[in-house]
Amino acid sequence: MILQETSLEDTDMDRSKGRKLFMTVLCLVAVSGALPIADLLDRAAQHSDRLHSLSTLLTQEMDTHFPFMEQGTTPQPSQCHTSTLEGPTDKVQALQVSEHTLMSLLRSLLQSWAEPLAFLSASANTLPHPAHSSIFNKIQQLQQNSKSLRHGLDILSARMGPAAQVVSILPFYRNDPGDKISKLINLQFQLNCFRRDSDKIDSFLKVLRCRSGRMRPDLC
């Protein structure tokens, strides 16, 4: 996948620089109001795309070493802690929902994952996984990426109105099973949940981007 490859090639330096630049630009833009929302959304969509690619890679890396976690035995997404966040589940719904609602949903999702990612990153260090250092690395990147995206969405929502400001942060229960295998399985499950949510975020942002850029066919 091209997007995944490009995101992998990014070094940390570039990403942090890019993020800082993005933040600066966004701040300035938010103050000056010069940048149109379409470009901001485009930039945010690129971020979310990279985020999703990263998380997909991460879950694949986990699965290669533990093939017993097949699809049949994957815990249901309804068990993810974000499952209570109701959102559109098909295109029709997604196109019907207003931008503010979508933005609010996105921000809630991202916010809800902030803490669990930190927890998972901490636990990944002591994983009994052969590639645990690489996994740890990737989780760190996930964290940083989602953080920058969060900031960007905050700025965007500030431009969109008060309705977009509603954010509901869902609680995350740290279940810390004692044995390491359960830890592993739990990690895998959580990462799968995150992967799905990142895909949601990506899709909705792209819908928003396309919707806001009606005069710019290159965005769609």
């Binding site: 996948m1 997007l3 795309d49 049949g72 098909d90 295109k91 949601k200 290159d218």
Partner: protein
């Protein structure tokens, strides 16, 4: 009875199993695909049917409820498929799908599979792939354009498609791949005229699966001379103009070009012999015309390369000579025209230079080459010429040319017979001295003496102390060396051949040595010292590596020929008493080392 019925039942059961009847085999789900993230389809592969008609059913459970649903549509996508329409499709929801095979004998469940629509998106191939040939500054390129699959909703942004294009020339094995990204057009620039190209396009969603390749589109690039044609026309016209101009120039200057490339043979620049003078018997004046005042320079002249050709006519020709033609002529031949910086090549036909042709009766065939020293043999019996020896072409028709330049201001040379080294390679102008060896007879004594006198007289300007004994046949003697002390070392020309052989290394066989005698030297007196070369007809000289030995052996050979009677004046160069030998052969006893100047 009961046992019989039980037995029959068992048998029927067994018989039924043996016939393959039974519950169906386990079906397996192959895959599920969604082309646009709005609907999806699942396919399964049936197991064995157990020999009985089997029905298949698909059941699924969504993860957020426990309700079991059955597949709504088994037809749309064909056999063994289940199609979920957009109302039944939810994205980011786990479908737990199971296929059940049922027949009379029982039912079998497949393994359950979890499907999330978001991860199984595989769009259809791009549509309406069109390729056109376009031109960019005279160079062709291909513009490929296509459309997204009609079902994928790109406009709303629900799906974002990325495209991949591949192309190749007809006949190639490898495809060239390109990624236009989200664009729907692409230009291929590395295109050659006259070739056919194949193009295919496919797409995928940003986090989904690649579609199939579109059907191959072929396009033939026409012979693209549009831009090139004008260039070729221009080149053609220009080059033809240039060629015409060149031809015209050449034509206009044809005469001067001819003169430049094929220069005419210049006429002689020397006055040569004045026949009137000769007729008048004024030999001195005759030879004076041959002299150039400033030539040769005294110090730098390469004496070695002078060949003085001295001939003495025998009595047969003496009669013709009575008219007063010169007895002795010095012929200089230029060895090869190419080295001759001075003109003179064309003096072949100069009447001034050439002595009366009639004197030279049978020389013509002998002269074929330029370098030659023609052995002229006055006697008609000598039909053969040493043809192996190089003849100078200049000698055309038996004449030898003189180059007076060698003679003129030189200090008087005494011709001493000294074998000459192979000077052919070096200096180009040789004066060959042609010594006529006439058979000695009493009749001729008188002529000889006359000849002597005449020779002396005629050569007084050029050669002092030239003495030639009359000989029975003409021979060429070449000057080997001009010694500063007025000596000219003469050597029969046959020596050259031998010297050649010597240079090449070792043995040589001289076939024609018969006419040449080696002039050993000319002593301070009026004696020409000759080494006896081969004076006999058909004598062969065997040459050996050792010079001394050569000489001796040559002489030894010479000695064997008795039939030639010649007189050779042999004198030991180093001061031995001169010996006038009245026979043709040199007494080997008296032959000696070459006098050194």
């Amino acid at each position: 009875m009961k046992e019989v019925s039980v037995l029959l039942l068992c048998l029927s059961l067994v018989g039924g199993k043996a016939a393959g009847l039974g519950p169906p085999g386990k079906p397996t789900l192959i895959n599920c695909r969604s082309p646009e993230k709005e609907t999806f389809t699942c396919w399964w592969k049936p197991g064995s049917d157990g020999g009985l008609p089997t029905t298949y059913a698909l059941y699924y459970v969504k993860d957020n409820s426990d309700t079991l649903y059955e597949c709504p549509d088994y037809q749309t996508e064909g056999e063994n498929s289940c199609f979920f329409n957009k109302y039944e499709t939810s994205v980011w929801v786990n479908y737990n799908i199971t296929v059940v095979a049922t027949n009379e004998k029982g039912r079998t469940f497949s393994d359950p599979v979890d499907v999330d629509v978001a991860y199984i998106v595989q769009p259809h191939t791009p549509e309406n792939v069109s390729v056109t040939v376009m031109e960019d500054n005279g160079w062709p390129f291909l513009r490929v354009s296509w459309e997204s699959p009609h079902k994928a909703d790109i406009r709303s942004g629900w799906i974002t498609l990325i495209y991949e294009l591949r192309s190749k020339m007809e006949g190639e094995d490898e495809w060239e791949e390109n990624y236009p990204g989200q664009q729907k057009t692409f230009n291929i620039f590395s295109v050659r005229s006259g070739r056919t190209y194949l193009v295919e396009v496919r797409c995928r969603p940003d986090h989904g699966l690649w579609s199939d390749w579109s059907p191959t589109t072929t396009i033939k690039v026409p012979q693209y001379f549009l831009g090139e044609r004008y260039l070729w026309i221009l080149i053609f016209v220009f080059s033809s103009l240039v060629i015409l101009i060149l031809i015209w120039i050449i034509y206009m200057n044809s005469q001067s070009l001819k003169r430049c490339i094929l220069p005419p043979i210049p006429g002689p620049k020397i006055k040569g012999f004045d026949h009137q003078h000769i007729k008048n018997g004024d030999y001195k004046d005759c030879f004076s015309t041959l002299m150039i005042p400033e030539f040769p320079p005294t110090s730098s002249l390469d004496h070695d390369n002078l060949l003085v050709e001295i001939f003495v006519r025998d009595e047969q020709e003496a009669s013709t000579e009575e008219e007063g033609k010169d007895l002795q002529e010095n012929y200089c031949k230029s060895e090869s025209s190419m080295f001759d910086s001075d003109s003179g090549h064309g003096s072949c036909d100069s009447h001034i230079l050439l002595i009366d042709k009639s004197k030279w009766t049978d020389n013509e065939e002998a002269i074929s080459n330029r370098d030659v020293v023609k052995p002229e043999i006055s006697q008609n019996s000598r039909a053969e010429r040493p043809s192996s020896y190089h003849s100078s072409p200049d000698a055309c028709d038996g004449r030898v040319k003189t180059w007076p330049s060698l003679f003129s201001p030189a200090p008087p040379y005494t011709s001493s017979a000294i074998p000459q080294k192979s000077s052919l390679e070096r200096m180009k102008q040789h004066c060959y001295s042609d010594s006529l060896f006439a058979p000695i007879s009493s009749d001729k004594e008188k002529h000889k003496k006359e000849a002597k006198r005449e020779l002396q007289a005629s050569q007084s300007d050029v050669f002092d102390n030239v003495f030639l004994t009359p000989f029975s046949s003409t021979q060429y003697v070449e000057v080997q060396k001009v010694c500063s002390n007025d000596t000219v070392l003469l050597q029969p020309v046959v020596e050259l051949n031998r010297r050649h052989a010597e240079a090449e290394g070792c043995s040589c066989v001289v076939g024609q040595g018969e006419d040449y005698s080696k002039v050993k030297g000319v002593d301070g007196g009026n004696m020409v010292l000759l080494e006896s070369g081969g004076n006999g007809a058909g004598m062969e000289m065997d040459c050996f590596c050792d010079k001394m030995e050569e000489r001796r052996s040559c002489l030894a050979n010479v000695k064997t020929h008795k039939n030639v009677s010649m007189q050779i004046a042999v004198q030991q160069a180093q001061g031995e008493q001169r010996q006038m030998v009245d026979n043709c052969y040199v007494d080997t006893a008296t032959m000696f080392s070459v006098p050194m100047c």
